[in-house]
Amino acid sequence: MTVQLDFLKRIPYFSGVGLADLESIKQLVFERSADRAEMVVLEGEPAANLFFVVSGAVRVFKTSAEGKEQILSIVRPEESFNDVPIFDGGPNPASARTMGPVVLYGIRKNDMEAILRNHPHIALNVTRVLAKRVRQLVSLVEDLSFKHVISRVAKILFEQVRSETSHGPRLTQQEMAAMAGTAREVVGRSLKELEEQGAIKLDHHRIIITDKEALQKIMEASS
């Protein structure tokens, strides 16, 4: 399939760019399809391409030495990922895996440099995109004071627990995040950590507190 000009117009990078300029940029854009759960970018590898999501969604994450994943963002249509290493020349700072079948537009590193040289007005758009990204990541860094967050999530579960025979309000991960003053992704990881520690069990739509004492200890731990 050919790269669609209509889509390129909607990408924040190319906001306000004239048709003639877009036509010449289009020559440097390639299309790539990927299946569900396919790794598109691997953390640590030399960066080759900047990607824009055309359809589907991509999860961007870092992996710890122990193999735990921390989600940094979910990239949706018209958004980009793997921008940073294209501009600073370093390796991929994170991995990217598709959440379903996706179509991507990619621009190779050298071609992106050529685009910026030949169309310098795009640099302001790029700056805005990266500035917004920095703001989001600063917020995530603030949330990732992990030990405190896991205590707050444990407290929420402790206080919200119902007996098996009663019915009470239910909480989405987003609601728990709002209550804990953190990001949804951090709540997800906290729940997995609490399960690994044996305090809870995740069973489909249920969070079952299996060890109330353990949960209380985690809740009361302050550092």
């Binding site: 569900r36 759960a37 359809s55 589907g56 969604a57 979910i74 949706r76 249509p77 959440m99 379903g100 079948p101 996706v102 579960l157 919200q160 627990v161 119902r162 007996s163 098996e164 239910r170 909480l171 989405t172 991960q173 987003q174 609601e175 949804r184 997800g188 069990k201 489909h204 739509h205 249920r206 969070i207 079952i208 507190i209 299996t210 109330k212």
Partner: protein, 68 residues
């Protein structure tokens, strides 16, 4: 009763991202609004909730104690 994600049709903009990411084939777009077609298959991964930009699909957890 089988638990299913909660859909707010008013908020759904028909983008279809949730259908795209659902690996259980539990969701479909019907007349441009998201619909659950197969709740037995849903494994509550909550990816649909994570990708939704408008908050139209929610996967709330019930928090219960194992104590009997």
């Amino acid at each position: 009763m089988i638990e299913m994600p909660i859909i707010d049709a008013q908020k759904c903009d028909g983008c279809g991202l949730c259908v795209n990411v659902c690996h259980c084939n539990a969701l479909a777009l019907v007349k441009n609004v998201i619909t659950i077609i197969e709740t037995v298959k849903c494994d509550w991964c909550t990816d649909c909730e994570a990708v939704c930009r408008t908050g139209a699909i929610r996967c709330p957890f019930e928090i219960i104690s194992q104590d009997s």
